[in-house]
């Protein structure tokens, strides 16, 4: 990459940082330059986020239809899967799968709910009485 080709596109990096890029100058020598971002990368990131929003939406529908507990919604919202959630909670994966069922979730102790709430950065109330227009 030539120094003048270092991309300077607007991206979510703006107001956060610029990236160091290695590029060659006119004499063919490597030097560094700062880049504000590259549209090819930003759109790859957008595709990833579209997918995440889709998964959150699907989880929301399931919770509203009573097919899954709010844990599913928050899990997707926090970009987790059952493996990651299991690592954070210390629960087995199959235990979490049970907690995803509304009737099991409704009987969970406050201690377990608190653990989930802390990991999701929400209150127990937000976990128990999920209100979607706020989130």
């Amino acid at each position: 990459m030539k120094k003048k080709e270092v991309p300077q596109d607007p991206s979510s990096l703006n107001n956060f940082t610029k990236e160091v890029c290695y590029a060659v100058d006119e004499t063919g020598k490597y030097t560094t330059d700062l880049s504000t971002g590259w549209s090819v990368k930003s759109s790859a990131l957008n595709v990833a986020w579209e997918d995440i929003e889709n998964r959150i939406l699907q989880a929301k529908t399931k919770v509203l239809n009573g097919e899954a507990s709010p844990i599913l919604f928050y899990m997707e919202q926090k970009l987790m899967d059952i493996t990651i959630l299991s690592a954070y909670t210390g629960f087995f994966k199959w235990t979490i799968k049970r907690h995803l069922k509304p009737n099991v979730f409704n009987k969970l102790s406050d201690k377990k709910l608190k653990l989930y709430a802390e990991i999701f950065d929400i209150t127990i109330d937000q976990l128990k009485n999920i209100r979607f227009n706020e989130s």
């Binding site: 990236e19 490597y30 590259w38 090819v40 759109s43 990131l45 595709v47 954070y88």
Partner: protein
């Protein structure tokens, strides 16, 4: 407590931490490309079956932690590295080191990293920062991908040091044990061994998923993505490939340029003009990675969708595999 510490921004977090920590102990010659090359940082692997963020698991560099470890070992610098099962002990040890005036490298997860913008906060646990002091309740943080230094409070730092999931940091902390002067001769030796090890990693690892073969393997896979996964998932997979390649703190195409810079910087130590010629091959490889990313973007943005577009994408990777094979073969033939 504040250590006199100089923050230098880097293209990649672990290179940056390694460079900054070594500069701090008096290894003045070290630069990001030298650290990356001596640590044999260039790599490629496509791990089949494993999924990351619901997409393919692809890496463009060696395992996290290796660049620091190998660079220090090659320069005969003893290293302290510790993991903790208890959060309390992790904090006590960190506080003690800072009180002694020792800046330390910490492996952290980015998901709960408050100064990162939301768009970049995934459950990725192999980020590296330096903690170089504490003021009141705030730890002073030098994050190599940031332009300036920043801070984290007790809770925030503990949370990212004990992030969970794949590659969980478990409070990992590391630093070079003592101040040292490194001679030109040591650097010369380290460059040679770093290059040789990297040749091995890219050309001689058995199996077809790692090194140059891994790039070909990915090219074979991409051809089949559209029919096998459907267009939507294939788009997601390509976006993931590009994100692994170019995302902040990850590099990819960028790593090829750093390696090219490394070979240039090696030339004053080992005045063999072959190094400069081969450096140009890595520039060509990096440029081709970038072109492939543009092609992939055409597909994941929805502008391109035909099978022939996937074939073109795949061809870019075949080209890259050939360029990198040629480059590493040439490196392996250098008579030191």
């Amino acid at each position: 407590m504040k250590v006199d510490f100089k923050h230098i921004q880097a293209a990649h977090c672990e290179n940056g931490v390694t460079t900054n920590l070594l500069k701090h102990i008096g290894v003045n010659q070290i630069t990001e490309p030298l650290a990356f090359g001596i640590g044999s940082g260039l790599f490629y692997i496509y791990i089949p079956l494993l999924k990351i963020n619901n997409g393919p698991a692809i890496a463009f560099r060696t395992m996290p932690g290796l660049v620091f470890k190998r660079t220090c070992r090659a320069l005969d610098i003893p290293v302290v590295r510790k993991k903790f099962s208890s959060k309390e002990n992790a904090k006590i040890f960190l506080d003690q080191k800072i009180a002694e005036g020792q800046p330390v490298g910490c492996q952290v997860g980015v998901y709960y990293l408050p100064y990162f913008p939301k768009e970049y906060r995934f459950h990725f646990n192999a980020h590296n920062v330096i903690v170089y002091g504490k003021e009141n309740d705030n730890y002073l943080i030098s994050d190599p991908v940031m332009e300036t230094v920043t801070t984290l409070n007790d809770y925030e730092l503990e949370r990212v040091r004990f992030a969970k999931g794949a590659l969980a940091p478990r409070g990992q902390i590391y630093f070079p044990k003592e101040n040292t002067i490194v001679t030109e001769d040591q650097i010369r030796k380290a460059i040679k061994s770093g290059i040789n090890r990297n040749v091995g990693a890219m050309l001689r690892i058995p199996g077809n998923i790692a090194g140059v073969d891994g790039i070909k393997y990915t090219a074979d896979k991409i051809k089949k993505w559209k029919t096998k996964l459907g267009l939507d998932t294939a788009r997601l997979y390509l976006a993931q490939l590009v994100r692994m390649q170019e995302e902040i703190g990850t590099g990819g195409g960028g790593f090829r340029f750093i390696y090219a810079a490394f070979l240039q910087e090696s030339h004053p130590y080992i005045p063999n003009d072959k190094l400069l010629e081969i450096s140009q091959l890595f520039t060509k490889s990096g440029d081709t990675w970038r072109n492939s990313a543009v092609q992939a973007a055409g597909i994941y943005k929805g502008r391109l969708s035909a099978q022939s577009d996937f074939d073109d994408m795949s061809d870019y990777l075949y080209q890259i595999a050939e360029i990198e094979r040629e480059a590493f073969k040439a490196l392996s033939k250098i008579k030191w």
